[in-house]
């Protein structure tokens, strides 16, 4: 029985640990924070007010992963309104959980859009289904050297063909498009397009007119029920983390919180273990890092152990966080649509989002940002409420000024923006704490504040994630593996990368023997 160290106790780290422990390994998870959960951690931002600033929606739990590690977490998909845009005169444009209900709700704005909705939802679901089949397996390799890999590639081709002619063409045609072009083909209501597009641009530095954003929309839909175009797996972050931690302990994983890793020790091109911040050496035959690729490879590993071209490739991974999170304490709720189970999006049109994105190009924060408000999250004292604002675009790299000077300004601007669309909101605010991209980097260890461990753009997915040629979790140092969402299949799901990383560790051992 050999020793495996997993760095980072987020969902991917825990899933990898469980996967390995079940295959009879002694697994230790080292987590720098005082509790596991990584991005899903709750913070008490003001006395009595707690919120998970970044766990808007935890994404889907791939059934293969759930089965593989032996957990089940109840999904409670939203029943009512999944997302809504506030419009003039207290009216709302709402997306509902089901395609039929959404179509009915859209009819008051445009009967054309209402008629189109079910077909659109079906189309997106079909393409997402194809992506799902790619996400459950190691990234495809084009230079398939073995027969087995060539068969994988052939299988991929068959899956694509199995979609049927029209769907197959739609996959190939849609994925490189901008979400603006895609939506122009379907809908006419500006707020509807704004609301759908806001999903596509989430966590990206680009606006809806930028190529590749249609892929981003579809990626976000993978694993969700048909018709649920805008996020909402219905999994509760706290329940997911608790289930993973419990399962990890059950299968014998040792979790050490408050333990920061300073270095990954390498000898003769092979990992020997890790050195922690307090100077302790922990030996291990394999090290699995669920941190982002930059931190894992360029901060924890001595560069002398890596090829210069590989180092350059890792340096070229684009992170570019653009989101500030504002946790808000409220003394009550503003007027909201009945049955709101999801988010309020300040996305009156695609043009609004595109304009908001312009600022990033010049290293500034949007004057009129895209803001997504999540009510009823976290916990608050009796009679009080918590809301979390996702504020985009606020680039990590500012051309002028610094985040310590700008943080509060951005928070105020975000609250004012919400108030302009949702009158009465600002009056309810009794306190707020903002986490800029720089703060998120510090608090959660995300390079440049990127929640996705690297932009989810076409050139950074599948066999390109984290870098070309190294997309199957094993890194160029023997015994070193990556398991974070900076690796295939990436963010937006629970444990997808961690599970494949665990499989990669086991496969590498088999090969060694």
């Amino acid at each position: 029985m050999s020793n495996v160290i997993v760095i980072g106790g987020g969902t991917n780290g825990l899933v990898a640990a469980i996967g390995l422990a079940r295959a009879a390994n002694k697994v230790v998870v080292l987590e720098a924070a005082s509790e596991v959960g990584g991005a899903l951690r709750q913070i008490e931002f003001l006395p009595g007010f707690k919120a998970a600033p970044v766990a808007g929606d935890v994404g889907w739990l791939p059934p293969d992963v759930a089965r593989g590690i032996g957990i089940s977490v109840p999904a409670r998909p939203a029943a009512g309104t999944v997302a809504a845009v506030p419009l003039d005169g207290g009216r709302w444009l709402e997306l509902k959980a089901g395609a039929e209900a959404t179509a009915a709700s859209l009819r008051q704005w445009s009967s054309k859009d209402a008629d189109q909705w079910p077909a659109f939802a079906g189309r997106i679901h079909g393409i997402a289904g194809f992506l799902a089949s790619l996400y459950g397996a190691p990234a495809p390799r084009i230079d398939a050297s073995s027969i087995a890999e060539f068969l994988d590639l052939a299988k991929l081709g068959r899956q694509l063909k199995g979609l049927g002619k029209t769907e197959m063409i739609e996959v190939l045609r849609t994925i490189p498009m901008s979400v603006a072009e895609l939506l122009d083909e379907w809908f006419e209501s500006e707020p509807l397009n704004g609301l759908i597009a806001s999903q596509a641009i989430t966590d990206l530095g680009q606006g809806p007119m930028s190529g590749g954003t249609a892929f981003s929309l579809i990626h976000a839909h993978v694993g969700l029920p048909a018709g649920m175009i805008r996020g909402m797996s219905g999994l509760a972050a706290a329940e997911v983390v608790a289930a993973l931690a419990a399962r990890a302990r059950e299968v014998g994983v040792e979790i050490r919180t408050g333990t920061r890793v300073r270095r990954i020790l390498v000898e003769d091109d092979r990992v020997k273990g890790v050195e922690t911040a307090d100077g302790a050496m922990i030996p291990a035959g394999e090290v699995v890092s669920s941190l982002d690729p930059y931190r894992s490879l360029l901060e924890l590993v001595d560069p002398i152990n890596l090829d210069p071209e590989f180092i350059q490739a890792v340096r070229n991974v684009r992170f570019r966080g653009v989101v500030t999170k504002v946790m808000v304490a409220l003394d009550g709720l503003p007027a909201l649509p009945a049955g709101l189970g999801g988010v309020v999006a300040i996305a009156p049109s695609m043009r609004y989002l595109e304009k908001a994105s312009d600022a990033v190009k010049y290293g500034r924060c949007s004057d009129d940002p895209y803001v997504e408000v999540r009510f009823g999250t976290g916990s608050a004292p009796a009679g009080k409420q918590v809301a979390v604002l996702h504020v985009q675009y606020t680039p990590y790299r500012l051309r002028e000024g610094n985040w310590d000077a700008l943080r509060d300004q951005v928070a105020d601007r975000a609250i004012a923006t919400v108030n302009a669309h949702l009158p009465g909101f600002a009056d309810r605010v009794v306190g707020r704490v903002a986490l800029s991209p720089a703060d998120l980097e510090r608090e959660f260890g995300w390079r440049e504040g990127s929640a996705t461990h690297g932009e989810m753009m076409l050139d950074q997915i599948l066999f390109m994630r984290p870098v070309a040629g190294w997309a199957r979790h094993a890194m160029p140092v023997g015994g070193l593996f990556l398991a974070g969402s900076g690796t295939h299949p990436g963010p937006g799901m629970v444990g997808g990368s961690g599970w494949l990383a665990a499989q990669a560790v086991l496969a590498a051992r088999k090969q060694k023997r």
Partner: protein, 526 residues
């Protein structure tokens, strides 16, 4: 009636239509070309717009013309002469300049004035681009297989394509994949640090598209423009003696020499069909001309929605053509000059005037130009690519005088409020004012000015929405999706009716590849 029937009719005497006609004639087909205007060339025409001043009115440089076409049709014998454009000079905001010269050692020395790192990177970058161009070249010469089809020829095509990809090796494949999916800005950021260098290079990635250099998909167009091939040398751009119209005329002469008939001022109204077969065409004049083969060199919108009744076509195809994006984004300003502009960054008449001048001082500059356009305005301070054809070919202007060609981006076809004469002039003023900041004598040197908006380009050349590539070169509109899935192999659902314009694979630029591949396909089908 005997004189009024042919084996094949080609609609449109643009360079692709002429290439198709020449190849068909070469194979012994009695071929007729019908051109709407009084001269040949479509967007590749030379016209004496002002007395004594001849302009390549639209398309103005050449690099992509396929060498096999030059060889097969013996174009030099028919008057084709390419003069190399040897440099690109970018004036900088601080009064300095950045130059790329014909000589690579000189260029390296020049770039090292601005960044030693970039001067080093250039060598490696050039090598990679060469590999990428070599990797793409066989694809440009390939009839796109239909990936949804199980027909033996399509499966063989897919296998050949797959084999080609695998033969690249994983390193080149990954590099190609990056080039296909990244933005020009991000791609160049991985190589270079000097802002004006990145801006000038990425500018070639946005030409003819409605993308920002920061939008994924723009890096590919960069390669498209890198693929220039004069006498086998990659990267060189050239200028045709007599203007781009002389390329069209050379191809036209070759076609005639091979037996084709060419009629100008013969606009086609409709393609005639009977029982799902093409039987000929009818002209605007009502004249009917019969042929069992009809080939459209027009863009997909005109080919499928105007020349034939769309009700004859499958709904899928009609939908796809309606969704095909044109979105013209560029304009052209042609100036007749009493003297050459004197650029303050490199004063006097010099090598700068024998090459291109690129107004692309920074990435921000290009982004701001795009910001104007995406909200429906022309760029107040646009990206421009400027050449002085009379410096290479003195016959283009009266002695001592000059012609200046300015390619301008962005100018959206769908301008807020629509294009008017006043807006056209305001656009022309923006162009002249911006150049005058770098060459103060320009305004007083202008004798005549022709301003072409995308709407003008559409009106004169017939290119829908003024798109210079007959449809955007976006990833979702390339290869087996150009112009539409299942109809990328030059055929149409109407038997005997084919397409050969730049709206088919590979399209764009004075390349002629679409015209040649279409002819090969037609002949193979016979």
């Amino acid at each position: 009636m005997a004189t009024n029937s042919y084996d094949a009719i080609v609609i449109g005497g643009g360079h692709n239509g002429l290439v198709t006609a020449a190849y068909l004639a070469r194979a012994g087909k009695k071929t007729l070309v019908l051109e709407r205007r009084h001269l040949l060339g479509g967007a590749a025409v030379s016209e004496e717009i002002f007395p004594g001043f001849t302009f390549s009115v639209f398309s103005y440089v050449v690099s992509l013309l396929r060498p096999e076409i030059v060889r097969d049709l013996e174009l030099p014998r028919h008057g084709l002469q390419i003069l190399p454009l040897e440099s690109t000079v970018t004036p900088l905001p601080n009064g300095d300049y950045l130059a790329g010269w014909g000589d690579s050692d000189l260029t390296r020395r020049e770039v090292s004035r601005h960044s030693l790192r970039d001067a080093d990177a250039m060598v490696e970058f050039g090598r990679l681009m060469h590999h990428m161009a070599m990797a793409v070249r066989p694809i440009l010469g390939m009839i796109p297989p239909d990936p949804t089809s199980l027909a033996p020829s399509d499966l063989a095509g897919m296998l050949k394509l797959g084999g080609h990809m695998r033969s690249l090796g994983s390193e080149n494949f990954h590099a190609l994949y990056k080039l296909m999916t990244m933005s020009a800005a991000d791609y160049l950021d991985e190589w270079y640090e000097f802002d004006a260098l990145k801006a000038t290079k990425s500018a070639s990635g946005i030409i003819g598209t409605f993308l920002s250099p920061r939008s994924p998909g723009s890096a590919y167009v960069l390669l498209h423009h890198y693929m220039g091939e004069i006498d086998g040398a990659f990267r060189a751009w050239g200028f045709a003696k007599g203007g781009t119209g002389s390329i069209s005329n050379a191809i036209g002469n070759a076609a005639r020499a091979l037996g084709a008939t060419i009629r100008t001022e013969a606009p086609v109204a409709k393609v005639l069909t009977r029982g799902g077969r093409a039987t000929g065409v009818v002209l605007d004049s009502g004249e009917e001309i019969m042929a069992p083969l009809v080939v459209s060199g027009l863009d997909p919108r005109r080919t499928f929605l105007e020349l034939v009744d769309p009700r004859q076509l499958p709904d899928d195809l009609v939908t796809a053509v309606r969704r095909f994006k044109f979105r013209g984004s560029s304009g052209k300003v042609n100036l007749a000059l009493s003297e050459l502009p004197n650029f303050t960054c490199l004063p006097g008449v010099g090598p700068l005037h024998r090459g291109a001048v690129s107004i692309s001082p920074s990435m921000d500059y290009l982004e701001r130009a795009y910001d104007d356009a995406k909200y429906g305005e022309f760029s107040k301070r646009p990206y421009m690519d400027i050449v002085f054809p009379s410096m290479l070919d003195p016959d283009m202007a009266p002695p001592g005088k000059h012609v200046m060609s300015v390619f301008v981006q962005y100018a959206p076809y769908h301008l807020n409020g629509g294009w008017t004469d006043a807006k056209r002039e305001a656009f022309g003023d923006a162009v002249v004012d911006t150049i005058a900041e770098h060459a103060p004598n320009l305004k007083s040197a202008i004798l005549h000015r022709q301003v072409l908006t995308p709407l003008d380009i559409e009106r004169v050349t017939g290119l829908s929405e003024g798109n210079i590539f007959a449809g955007e070169l976006a990833l979702q509109q390339l290869f087996f999706l150009r112009p539409a899935a299942a109809w990328a192999k030059y055929r149409t659902p109407i038997h005997g009716y084919y397409q050969c314009g730049a709206g088919t694979h590979p399209g764009g630029g004075i390349m002629g590849a679409s015209g040649r591949l279409a002819a090969l396909k037609i002949l193979a089908d016979q």
